[in-house]
Each structure stands twice: as C-alpha cells, then as structure tokens.
Subunit: 337 residues, 2 copies
DNA sequence: GTGAAAGCGCTAACAC
DNA sequence: GTGTTAGCGCTTTCAC
C-alpha cells in the first residue's frame, strides 16, 4: 500500500480512503490512485485489515458433516441469505466428534468470522456452559444449548407427530420407526422425533410396540436398508415405516423393493427432511419439510442483530432467543391419502 | 498476550513460545504461563499471527455449488486428507456465475488460505490468463486452465467411453445421451463426456443418431426426468440411456418408471459420478466412479509441494503439472451383463 | 482534501 | 532459558 502511495504521490491514508470508497478524496486523486493500484497489481491484505478493524466480511458455518444432503442444502440456503447481505459464507466441518467440535469453536478460530453459525452434534449444554464467545454466534439444531445463546431449531417433535399422525389416520397401526429411541429423554434429533411418534400414537390411543422402535448406528441409506431387513427377518409385523431421515428412508424403500413389498398398499413409508432427491425416488417419498428457507432467514436475522450490536452500547444488545421453525408435511406416492 | 506475560511475570516472547510448543522454556515457566493463560481465558489472535507469519492453517476449497452431491462428497474427501496433514478445510461457493467466481479468487481473498483448490465453472483459460496468485493454487475440474497452473481432473472422456462401451457391448444400439452436446469442441464436462460417447460408438462402428443427443439446461433430477419424457414423446426410439450425471440419471430412472419401461430389459441406463445414493435407487444404478479419493490425494500432494516451496529457493519450485485421474465402471442393476 | 503518528497482536532475529 | 527490538499492512485520530 505504501508502494502505491509513493507511486501516486499521496499518503497511505489517501489510498486507504480510495479503496474503501470513503468521501473526502478529490476525483483527480482518486483516479490517479486507482490507476496506480491496477498498474501495480496491488491487493489489500485482509489479515492486516482484520487485525485493525476486527471485521472479516465472512460468516462461518460449522457443521458436523458437509456431504450429508441436509447440511449441504442448508449451507446453500444460508449462503444465499448471507450473500444478499454483502458478506460471504464459508463452511467448516468438524467430522462429528466432540473434540474436533470444541477445537473448531473454542480456540480463537471463530475470530476469522464476523459471525458464526454452529450446528453441534456431540457437544452438549454442559460442554458449552463455560464457553464465552467474542464473536456473535447462533446455534442451530436440536442439541440443547445454554439459555444465554441464540438458538434456532426446527420443530422435530411436531414434524414427527404429523408424519406419524398421517400414517395412523390412513390405516396403519404397526408403524416401525427407523432410527427411533427406546429412551427418548435426551434432547437430540432421534429422541425428539421419537417423542413426536409417541405423541401421535397417544392421540390415536394406539399402543407402541417397542419392537417396532429400531435404533440405528447411522442415518445413511445403507443402515436404513439393513435395519428394515433385520426387522423383517425378525418376524415382527409392520404396516408402516417412519424413517427419521430421508437418507435412511431411501434405504428403507430399497429394502422394501428387495422384499417385494408393495408401497403404499402393504406398507406405507414416510421420511423426514424433504431432501431434493426424494421427489424422484421410486416410489416418490412422502416426507416432512423442515422449512429450511425460513430457518435460514431467521438464523441470519438473529446473527445480524448480534453482529450489529457487537461492541456497541450494551443496552441495545438483544436478549438471547430460541426460535422453533415450523415444519410441514409433504405427501407423495409412498403414503396413502 | 502482554496481559498474560505481565501476570505470569515473563515477556510476551515466552508466552508465544509456550503457546507454540517451542523448546527453550523451562518446565516451571511453561506451567506458570499455561495456568495464567487459562485463568485469563486468553485466546490467540489468528489475524495477528497470520499478519506476522503469513500462514493461516487453512486450505480453501472454492466450488460453484455446495449442495450438489458431487462437490459435497469431494469436499468431504478433501477435508479428510487436509485434516490428516494438520490443516483444516474451509469451503466457499461461488454460486456458479463468472463474476462471483472472479471475485472469490481475485480480490486478495485467497490470502486467507495457505493453499487453495479451485473448481471453476464459468471462467475459462482466457479469463485466467492474466491472473497471478501469491497463494499456491490447484485447479480441478474439466475447464481448461493455462499451462502454468497445476490442474487435476478426472478422465471424463475415458469414463464416458467405458460407460457407452458397456451399453453397446450388451446389445444396445440406440443410446440416448442425456446432457450431451451436438458440438463437443469446447472442453467442458458435457463435451468431454459426449466425446467419450462418440468414441465408443466409433469403436463399435455404430452411427450416432443426433436426435439421441439431448442437451439439458441443468443436471438435476428434474431436468433429467423432463428430458427423457420429452425424448420419448417425440417418438425417437432408444434402448439405452447414458445420463451425464447421477443426479440426471436419477430423474431418468424416475421417468422410465413413470412410462412403465422395464430396466434393464427394454432400456438399460447408466450414470456418471457414482454418488453414494445410487446404490440404493430402484433399480440400483450402474455408474462411472471418478475415483475421488485418489483425486483428493493427488490434489493435496500437488498443493503441498507448492505450499512447501512457497517463499523458498525458486530452484526447487515444482513444474506445473496436469494430472488426469482414471475412472472406473461400477455395474449394478440398471444395466445388463 | 490530505498527511503524520500511533498501534492493532503477534513473532523472527538477535542479545543477554 | 528469557528479554528486547522491530515490523507485518492496515486504519483511527487528529492536525494541517
């Protein structure tokens, strides 16, 4: 920058003013400086600017996994919203283990960002209790976080309730839940969705057969397919399947096809997440739409409040809030009407 | 940091040495400093460190889209490899328009990273001709880039040749190519794969009916399904389909199911990319595996060479290289044997 | 409308 | 084994 200043016969300050489009530079000077900048191929050093101003122009999204459609699609939506505000989104993944999650969010790495969106998977409220961030942070996902943080989550219980409700109201009485939990007292995704499943059963006065609650080690298609086959082989009868994610549901559809079971005639099936692909499966999969667009908007709204308030008058710092975004049933061919 | 130094009764330099695990600090001092650090809740400021050392510990991946399974899965693989080397990967997306691609790679934003992997979609060799990066860069993908850059790409032509070859050798003679190009003289993904398709036909002495070459506006399942229906409605007969991506192939399978066409008896189908989901489609989709693991390894190998060489003796800076990673056929239920 | 000085938080190089 | 000095490239402040 001082090179540019010297070449253009002005001070570094003036160059800085030109670059940042600040007023108070005469048109001729501005032009001369701009010409020199492009002639010398000068580029601002973001690290220095960051060191000085504390702003980076970047919003971080920290997720357990980047290749799961759910996170990938959420990332895209957030990127849209972030870019509309003149910032850009960068995504980091933790690989879904507690230690790496802590590392990603604790050791000053957040300072690279003006604001951060974190989706914890293994960290729970106790781990987060001691943490203080100097960067504005919004938590997303179903893991409970301390009340002093902003938190946006989807309505897992409500969505699962609706899905199960639909299967029950269209005649299913023995609904397998793939990925469910026998003990649903921890607030994670499987437990919350299992709770919705149980609520719907309670509303219909139908008893849940615990043998239909199938725990899984992961939520990919492979494990969905294996679980369903295992359930079938164990001889437990079922006439409906609620898979806790669309990825798992994909495996379920595949396994039902292998078993020559008619969908939705013999067994109806429903997923959760409304991934873009579900509409093209055979049969087209009914699912629960988590309204990620609304969620993305809400997340950024909260983050912006905090980012705006950061460093300012502590009086107008917003109260931490928890938002639950409604979900919505999308019915396709894998369920009856 | 000076706060910590003062509190611990040492100099800032010693604190720095402790933080970075450098030798030459006595155990007692080290312990005292560490205690003070945690008592004061001190965190290193990465911006300052970056400003001073020029290293950030981050590798950037810049892709057109983050929610396409192909990029998402590539990102995961790269993240694995990057993390094995003690760095971490951050992903940015450009949204797939030329201006934003340029912005992402040109305006000094790359300085946030020790090395960058770029997958251009709209920028071509001419746009890149003038660019000089001070950050080590490896290009990926099929867009041609100037020779002075490192470039890793998969074997699009070979993979498409193999896929088409298999359909021909199992009896198909009228193979539709979804996403193909009538004019395949530009080096982009569709053109390269179309070239492989034509090569295989030439080897078999089968003439290509240009009506079977179906151009598409995008490579998602929706457009795959629409294209296939449109082809069918137009009355052009076909007994095989090569979809240029698995996403498009997914739509093709869906459309064939809607038309009650038996796969692979009447029409056999094959995709490209070997996305994880393809194994669970109905029927299971045959595809071309681009060997992304090998590609990820190779990309990082090249990037590391450059990162190591950066700033050093110009004699041992490696020559720019272009690597083509082989692809491989994966046969499942959607094709005959 | 423009410039000079100071300093953001860190570390390389060298002195003690 | 530890401290001192200087400076990375920018912007804030205030003087001109």
């Amino acid at each position: 920058m001082i090179d540019v200043a010297r070449e253009a016969g002005v001070s570094a300050m003036t160059v800085s003013n030109v670059i940042n489009g600040r007023p108070g530079v005469s048109p001729e000077t501005r032009l001369r400086v701009l010409a020199t900048i492009s002639r010398l191929g000068y580029k601002v050093n973001h690290a220095a600017r960051h060191l000085r101003t504390g702003r980076t122009g970047a919003v971080g999204l920290i997720v357990p996994d980047i290749d799961r459609p759910y996170y990938a699609q959420l990332a895209r939506r957030l990127a849209d919203v972030v870019e509309r505000r003149g910032l850009h989104l960068v995504v980091e993944r933790t690989g879904g283990n507690a230690e790496r999650e802590l590392e990603a969010i604790s050791f000053g790495r957040l300072r690279k960002y003006d604001g951060v969106i974190i989706s914890p998977l293994h960290l729970d409220a106790a781990d987060l209790e001691h943490l203080r961030f100097e960067t504005p942070v919004v938590f997303i996902g179903e893991k409970p976080v301390p009340k002093r943080f902003d938190h946006v989550m989807m309505d897992n219980v409500g969505g699962a309730r609706m899905a199960t409700h639909h299967l029950l109201s269209t005649g299913s009485r023995r609904i397998a839940i793939i990925g469910g939990r026998h003990d649903d007292h921890v607030d994670d995704m499987p437990s919350l969705r299992t709770r919705g499943y149980r609520q719907a059963h309670a509303e219909f006065g139908v008893e849940v057969d615990e043998r239909l609650v199938v725990e899984v080690e992961s939520f990919d298609p492979g494990s969905g397919a294996r679980s369903l086959k295992h359930l079938y082989d164990s001889g437990v009868a079922f006439d409906g399947v609620f898979a806790l994610t669309d990825a798992a549901a994909m495996g379920v559809l595949r396994a039902l096809a292998d078993l020559n079971i008619d969908i939705p005639g013999e067994v109806q099936a429903i997923g959760f997440d409304n991934d873009e692909e579900t509409e093209f499966l055979v049969p087209r999969l009914s699912s629960v739409e988590p309204c990620n667009d609304a969620m993305a908007e809400r997340i950024l709204e909260m983050l912006e409040y905090r980012m705006a308030a950061n460093g300012d008058d502590p009086r107008d710092v917003p109260e931490p809030a928890t938002t639950i975004v409604n979900s919505q049933l999308v019915l396709r061919e894998s369920t009856r009407r």
